[in-house]
Subunit: 356 residues, 4 copies
């Protein structure tokens, strides 16, 4: 209920605050018999971790995962997988200056309103540090659904957009640059933009596009738990996300039915894919693609006026090492959440017919 | 699991196909002691029902709700509320021509792929008829959270947008016109557009904006079940929805942090509200507002080529009485789903502190 | 949350009070493609219904089920199955004498304490009438798991016990007598006992034994949701149940390990079965058997002193047509709940390995 | 789904195998603002841990809990509480002799059937070591519901029973002896019995009685999630449990209604309490009491014939340090599970009326 779990059958529960001793989680419902590639898991962690390039925060966290259970001789056993990631970099002192201060557009105020108790160290539970646990679980989910390909990439930073459809992009180039944009020329402009913004002590928003390929038809629950509804929730649960659209998305709302309908080929595939791979909440076997909007990081290094918990106006200035743009580090998180949704619905699908 | 339930504590489960005898549902977890206004429930049903104006489908369904339990002497008792809405208009013959046909951009194909069994009568479970049950539950939820105001309205049809911020609109005028747009001049243009599209036998998409006012601070679960994530899922679960954004939304992804942050007033309210009333997944007491994109209805009255279940190309033409634009009838559905989310999180909030 | 649902994947939600217009429910998660035998469903309903013999209540309820959805051309479609059972016999007047009275050992007092609102008509939601919906769902579950055999029978009434192990009983004789005891001589004594008790205006308790045969090994979740724990909860959720034991049960608590362990045969079966078909919460392929204790019905026809809602002492006397012993009518309810548990765990089992 | 979580609102999820590096869990939904007494938590751990007396296993595990999150400055924050208990004593070699062997009346065979993968080290996930995590969570639950008193004690070992009603026992004496029986004379006999059984290399069963006092009226969900049904499930989920009865229990099944009904006093309390504090699944404010049956431990130190995973007959002999009787160490586990149920239903109760 308290919302620290995700998934129905392939279920992740996470714990941990940014400046506690460790964060971690439990993956429950991962099928038995999956041989895990631990290097692949760490590779995903490294894509998310701070300090990996000049345009992300310079904090240092090795982000190594320790597994405690559910794995025996390199294979999942069907029992819950408990894991921990130590916080090696928790300098609580860094945050003493904001102990009583409500930072603008942060969760400080709302946590205080909700719980009446606030762990003020670096955002506590509201920090995106929690997403490291999601990346662990997503990396395992990816190995379970290894026939499915999930690729996310930065599709815009501020006003700089990729101007090609995803079909014209080479996903193998996503990791070639620090911003994780597969189009080299656009990537360069994006990096220049982030570098400039960073110099100003400011931050900037962006969008991530995610494409899920080779999904079998038939995934998704038709009414409240439509496949795209769960993907939407998964994405909206990531820190700083403000919007989600799939297939034709907001553009589709401007179209006519005669233009929007996807004609069938005789094999059941469709000639266009404005539907985005989902009909009536159920996958149709075509590519699933969606776009996620991230706001600019709220912590800037510029002076701001705000209030403290006594309602007094105070001046504050972000210190420390923050991301000027979350988007590049959010790419593996988007993929992880997508993997968790697909893994969950793959399991659910097994339960729905008499033929299996 | 099969996704016919929504909500954790205030929980709706629905059943029913468009052309069965009846649809209905069970509301479980509605607190005891709410005196119900049955006319208000019927009023919401009437806003959603077909045949209410010239720009919606001319089918006739009285959509009267029969309650079977959970209410005694006009008051909720705390036990589950079972209800039924009879389908008075189920002409199965109307649909025999599509028995083996997969209509483009409908759920015919995906249901068949998923279940291997297809109730071909009028879309069966994938029909938006199911949303009538949501409106019943939403109307009861609204009465439970009666201090909260929820107003949805049509904010665009095709390329016709309201060009004012919601603060400049008078929500009391939403019901003044058939398209449910509170700005009279824009409404007129929208209605003209839908009328024209209808004449062409075509359909058109649109967007709905929803504003939730007077929500207490502290609603929402901080990690996976963020308030806006659940609102997003709720909206994406409505038929024909392709996108969801709240607060600054996709525009926010183009902004700088220094422009995006909402400055606090000394009472904890904020001067701007790009956050959209939610910080870190928790309501902050400001207005919550979001926008939902609806694609054009897939059933047009124009001839289309498609395939049947044997993979043969066939020609089909939509018959019958379909909506040229779903948006006006979707307005009460958006409100209903929003009410269900807020009611659920209001109950959840009671469980989270030692002070209550 | 409010506890009107049972099951995880094969899920029943019920609604309805004993003296409302109807009771009913929704079965969600029933796999698609099951051809239903509606007569078999009605047969189970008839086993539970009042008025079927001289030793049960003489109320008349035809208990016919109306299905509204989830079934097309006699087959389940994978969508939720909504159903209704009308209450044809609701004489609210019968209960006006107990409007303000808390009947001893009934739920009148606790409902009032819990909800502050009481539907006093015949027990409302606390009436065993609700179990008719369970029998509908259980009958469908039985058809889904048709390779499994579930047989419950009356194993004691008051101090009259069957003195044979279940292996020596012929389950085909369960329906041969009104008390549902497969041993004819014991059945006769039990019926005589109930007849005598009924003449006294009194009631009597009893036990039901249930044997589940041909269950595949591997059902059950090892920790909190052990197969026998869920069976126990299912049984304890039936009205009037006071105890549950499986395998060696309470006798096992008096034994030594050297006597209690079940030796394996080379095919993995065991020579004895004190374990009751479950090891570590998981079925081992042997018979699962358990025993359920039912208290005597609280409503007697004798005069009793009690209190009313103002805390005043009043005299009351049960009227109407009550069961002198619930056990014979509870036999199909025990089977129904067992079937729901097994169906649910059969579905769950599909999700647990990479091989399927 | 995979059954490693317990509770709805106050929810524990556990992970860990007996011979992995650590076990642990996450408590989600614990309200904010509880000042924790960490010594009280450790005290409960010490009651469960091995090596505490001569009649329990002589393994040594300090069983110290490390908390990682959800607690700040000694107080719960409302965010999930992650914790770990290191396995200091995992000697995997001890178990190599049973690698391919299915021990009689253990879960070896069923795990293999279920998952096709077996962590053979000391029972893996099926070991009662997992219950250490339950004791952590139960100790915190007790602090949340500190007005409620929960006392469990050993009520029988083999054929030695306490012959007094619980009302005549002094719960403060439970910890006075190694068997946890508050009646000194009976305790002595029980300890002698266990000592004798241990010398034989054998094991013996027993029962635990638990009394929950000062529970407010109104806890429990009336239909499937009756308070006693959830307590029953909680108890049946503990390793080695074979039966559960509450109030009059199996004895009640032999009684007449005129003897079984509990007469009300004018304040709503009852003169007798055969109901066991629950009516219609809802607490009535009287003492809740129940009895739990534990089978004898399956691991004896005597030679036994059994089979291995190839279906061959092999001889085996338990080695190592096992409990001759689980009952004394299970007392704190029974209390912990009871505390988790009561805490959960206390939270749920807050959501059920309009008055709070």
């Amino acid at each position: 209920m308290a919302g620290n779990s995700f998934g129905k059958l392939f279920k992740l529960t996470t714990f941990g605050e940014s400046h506690g001793r460790a964060i971690g989680g439990i993956i429950d419902g991962c099928p038995a018999g999956i041989k895990l590639d631990f290097e692949a898991i760490q590779r995903e962690m490294n894509r998310r971790k701070p300090g990996q390039s000049k345009i992300v925060t310079q904090r240092k966290e090795p982000d190594e995962v320790e597994f405690y259970s559910g794995i025996f001789e390199g294979q999942t056993t069907g029992t819950p997988i408990g894991f921990l990631i130590h916080n090696t970099n928790q300098k609580s002192k860094d945050y003493s200056h904001i102990k009583d201060v409500y930072r603008p557009s942060h969760a400080d105020y709302t946590y205080d309103q909700k719980y009446g108790v606030r762990d003020y160290r670096g955002g506590g539970r509201s920090s995106a540090r929690e997403t490291a646990s999601r990346v662990v679980a997503g990396a395992i989910a990816k190995q379970f659904i290894n026939q499915v390909n999930i690729n996310a990439f930065t599709s815009s930073v501020g006003d700089i957009f990729i101007d090609k459809p995803y079909q014209d992009l080479d996903f193998s180039k996503i990791e070639d640059n620090a911003i994780r944009c597969p189009d080299a020329a656009t990537a360069e402009k994006m990096i220049a933009k982030v570098t400039e913004i960073k110099k100003q002590g400011d931050t900037i928003g962006g969008t991530i596009t995610c494409v899920i390929q080779n999904v079998p038809a038939g995934l998704g629950e038709p009414v409240f738990d439509k496949l795209h509804a769960e993907l939407g929730k998964a994405m909206l649960s990531i820190n700083a996300v403000k919007g989600f659209e799939y297939g034709s998305g907001f553009c589709g709302a401007r179209m006519k039915g005669s233009d929007h309908n996807d004609k069938f080929n005789e094999d059941g595939s469709t000639q266009t894919n404005l539907s985005g791979g989902v009909q009536g909440g159920i996958s149709n076997g075509m590519d699933i693609y969606f776009r996620v909007a991230f706001k600019p990081v709220a912590t800037t290094l510029q002076k701001q006026e705000t209030i403290n918990s006594s309602g007094e106006t105070v001046e504050m200035q972000g210190k420390g090492r923050h991301d000027p743009c979350v988007v590049p580090r959010a790419v593996p998180i988007v993929e992880a959440m997508a993997a968790l949704v697909i893994a969950d619905y793959m399991l659910l699908r097994r339960t729905e017919t008499t033929k299996w």
